[in-house]
Symmetry: C2
Subunit: 594 residues, 2 copies
């Protein structure tokens, strides 16, 4: 039993000044968490209890799925992360430090390398596999802009699991087992999640899915179709229009350069074209020109993982913007930045405002990498810069008049775009990443030389999966989803305590009866928060109780004289008057039966 009179529970009347989202405001105000540095939180008693409940649900389902729990230090040496490339690739996200001998260490963001080495250390045969190992532990990432309470932090508790298999089919099975465990975990937590195809990003590997909890405060944008498709925008692939055959291409009009004075923007070029070449555009019947076919060329400065830089030109239909998150994912592990005036000065082939395909490409003398949107298919006709001030090329046909070094998924995804699997138009929505599962494949095992003897006695490289759930983030998501204007409303599975007993009034008999009820509930194995504060008004106690959000409360107050106590349900607000004799059974039914 926690007695509020001698507890470390303190509620606050005011929202923290830096709080933007409900979970941040409420968890701080209700005394569940407390900030200790930017993106670093302290777990106060009730918060810790919620976190442990989430942790225990995750642990039970990991064990049920055949996982073996271990525990690694957050502090790890540089060498394994150097071997995998992550020491570099993680850039400033990684907390790095030196020990007293000057050796490099890091605070692990995840532990792929260490788990691979542990398996390498202890296992040697295909007979030892498959195995799935996991840990629940504090992780560190030096986020550029920690914000929103527990939603974007620099220290967080995570469950990370890793599977090890000899065959691709084995990896599929291990992945499926974790995927099902995740569905059970989020089901038990009462957190709606959508499984989205995801971009594997810096983790490498092939298949990857995110468990996104749909919420307007989510940082991730994802798309869904009515036919059941769901994906992170970074993972959406564009459905290109049909390409033309060489015969069809041959029948198209020849490209021609035109003077386009002042038309250095897509809008200006579209207007100019409709004015000067009316009826010659591609829109059926009207012959109108649209922004779509004004092929937009954008230049970026790429920084490769080894620190070298190079320009990148990408071309996308003129009616779309670049989605920087998609671009980021597409160029990863390289990073991109704006192409500055000095950079343009070094590359005269890039005539700002009038860039076109002419003179671009790794095979061209400029050796500038040139990538196009997937909609730029053979036979597609475009208007593009001619590489000279105030001139554009019309009827520029891809595959006949120009080519590229490849395609790039960098253009924004819009509501109404087709789902890649043909399941209908896409709809954009926002979500919070609750879990992420990856088929890493053999990337880490190769980097760290993790091999076992296969059935034929030959060395076979192991294939891995990695599977994460943000435990502390799940607490935030639960608070985000389960609250009202009065405070938190915990689902029973994760509530810090089962019942909140309140003694309201000054009468000693009230406190004696409340004490009896609280003790007898505890004796039945029900955890009790008991508001025994002697000089606090009923109003304050009710407000605190609503803020704290324990699912059931028992109020012992003035009604006691008439033989009743109140049993309140935090979620529905329902109040039942019951006799002190019946209250134990009534609460027990609520706690166990719900």
């Amino acid at each position: 039993m926690i007695r509020m009179s001698s507890s470390f529970i303190r509620t606050l009347r005011e929202d923290p000044s830096d709080a933007e989202v409900a979970s941040h405001k409420l968890l701080v105000r209700a005394g569940y968490i407390r900030r200790s540095a930017a993106g670093v939180y302290t777990w106060l008693p009730l918060g810790l209890k919620v976190m442990r409940k989430v942790e225990e649900i995750v642990r039970e389902e990991m064990d049920a799925a055949g996982g073996h729990e271990v525990l690694f230090s957050a502090l790890q040496p540089r060498a394994p992360y150097e071997a995998s490339g992550r020491w570099e690739d993680y850039g400033p996200l990684l907390f790095r430090l030196k020990d007293r001998r000057g050796e490099d260490y890091l605070l692990a963001p995840t532990h792929e390398e260490m788990f691979a080495l542990a398996v390498k250390d202890l296992f040697s045969s295909y007979k030892d596999l498959p195995i799935t190992l996991y840990q629940i532990q504090s992780k560190y990432r030096d986020e550029a802009r920690p914000r929103a309470g527990l939603l974007r932090v620099r220290e967080f508790v995570m469950k990370d699991a890793y599977s090890f298999d000899v065959s691709d089919e084995g990896l599929d099975a291990s992945y499926a087992a974790q995927r099902e465990a995740y569905q059970r975990i989020f089901g038990r937590l009462g957190l709606e999640t959508v499984i989205c195809q995801a971009d594997a990003g810096a983790m490498g590997g092939s298949r990857s899915e995110e468990f996104l909890h749909p919420t307007p405060v989510g940082e991730d944008t994802f798309v869904v179709s009515d036919g059941g498709y769901a994906a992170n925008v970074e993972a959406v692939t564009t459905t290109p229009p049909p390409a033309l055959s060489p015969e069809q291409i041959a029948a198209l009009p020849a490209a021609h350069v035109e003077d386009t004075p002042g038309a250095s923007t897509i809008a200006a070029l579209t207007d100019f074209s409709n004015e000067v070449f009316p009826g010659q555009g591609p829109v059926a019947e009207s012959g109108e020109w649209t922004r779509y076919e004004m092929l937009k060329h954008l230049v970026y400065q790429l920084t490769l993982p080894d620190g070298t830089t190079e320009p990148l030109v990408i071309a996308i239909p003129g009616d779309r913007e670049v989605d920087e998150k998609r671009l980021e994912a597409a160029v990863s592990p390289a990073t991109f930045a704006a192409f500055g005036p000095e950079d343009f000065a070094k590359h005269p082939v890039l005539k700002k405002g009038f860039i076109g395909p002419e003179g671009l490409g790794l095979e061209s003398p400029s050796r500038i990498r040139y990538l196009v949107d997937p909609r730029v298919v053979p036979g597609s006709r475009w208007v593009a810069g001619a590489g000279q001030e105030d001139r554009h090329v019309y009827d520029l046909v891809f595959g006949r008049d120009f080519t590229a070094d490849g395609t790039i998924e960098a253009a924004e995804v819009r509501d109404g775009d087709p789902a890649p699997d043909g399941s209908g138009p896409l709809r954009r929505t926002r979500g919070m990443e609750m879990g992420h599962i990856f088929q890493l494949g053999r990337k880490y095992a190769e980097a760290l030389d993790l091999k076992v003897l296969d059935e034929n006695g030959k060395q076979a490289t192991v294939t891995m999966g990695s599977y994460g759930i943000g435990v502390t983030r799940a607490v935030a998501a639960l608070a985000e989803t389960h609250h009202d204007d009065k405070g938190l409303v915990w689902p029973r599975a994760v509530a810090p305590m089962d019942v909140h007993v309140l003694a309201t009034g000054k009468d000693a008999a009230i406190f004696a009866e409340a004490e009896r009820i609280a003790s007898e509930l505890e004796a039945r194995g029900i955890t009790v928060l008991y508001d025994d504060r002697p000089k606090v008004s009923p109003g304050v106690k009710f407000k605190d109780s609503e803020l704290l959000g324990i699912p059931t409360s028992v109020v012992i107050g003035r009604g006691l004289a008439e033989g009743t106590v109140e049993v309140r349900d935090r979620a529905s607000g329902e109040v039942d008057l019951v006799s002190p004799q019946d209250v134990l059974a009534r609460v027990e039914a609520a706690v166990r039966g719900a």
Copy 2:
């Protein structure tokens, strides 16, 4: 149930090459832990289970003692530790790092500052106190020489508790409650501990006791008396001989300087004195000279926390050596180093080999700090260097011929020295620090301005205690104490699993029966490690079982045909033959009854 055929348990036949102590060898060989960097270990499945059991015992007793559990990040900002002085004082023991903005952070060695700030944050009145908060969490210390497996590491799990009181009496009560909780914890763990008076060291504060587990592999030396006194050597205070009154001193012979050619060591000076002044020494009847009265003067270079250096001369009876740990504790937070030839050159008053009190002291022109052993009392007579080559002063009386800036506890403590409390002669022994409790007093509260309103409405500085138990170290101590030449022998309270079921042989009926027994034990709430490996010999299974050290094992093998299975007790080695029908009850009695 853990099935060994698909587990992450692997025993090793060889001791790790760097292992010196039994706990290190056995925990690695039995697959409980695995090294990931110098002083950084990974907890494998069975090791983690033992650690969690220790953690849970600690948690239960902390809760029973009225503690409130919270959780702080290991990553903390510099400022609070700067305010307390620990950012500097901890020196190279502290892992320091910078974030992407260049701000200083540390990996906390303990959290006094953060707990004080949390209380300051939420509490404001004496009515909020007392409170005791605790956490169980990973701590970091950059030890110079990590060694002995889990005994001296750079990352470890610790329970650290902090008490907050308004009054000194309150602190005494909070301290007593923790002290009792510690006794219960070590009792439940089955770890013998001696409560030793300790030096508070860098933590500051007044009263401090260590819970030392007596063991020859312990790093701490402590002393005990038959009368019940126990103390860390750093904390032992010397019992001085009685001082003489001014009248008695006046009756003593006058000091006289003598030529003592070549007598530059204590041994040489003693021999010289007995040869040249026979019968004039202090030994009753014989008049012999002993090494005791040849007052030994030693010079050290002190480095103060602010980085400045100064010489320190200490004088101790010539029959004792300096104990560097006692000296270290005595000068803390300053540190000491040898006084080199260049240092001597700078201070001509320090005539090497013939240093005496002449010309020393903060009040003297040399301003050299001069401290003496507590046995140097008024009226005590000494022989000391005269500050000149080959000359010594005889009948030098403290309080008449020389004084000092104070006393220092730096001389070694020897077997037979009197206990400070008069409880008899001391005996030196070795131990391992399992817990440490401190009355910090107001040091941290003052540094961090932690005040509450007292009963009179005035600001009162809070007084604190801090209380630590090394959870991972307790696992090592348990392994150190509970093993034999075949392997680990876990006490039941911390055993990773309740029972080890072994199927030995090839007969399918044996495996079927073992499976049934293992499942039925699990159904009764008994945790089972099941050795179901199909092609492993009985000999290997027995060896592994002894190495793993689970208290009870059930062997289903050849005897099954005659209707018996074996129940083995790991500690006693006793083997009972029981029928498969009786085995469940037999094991349950062992698990629950022991």
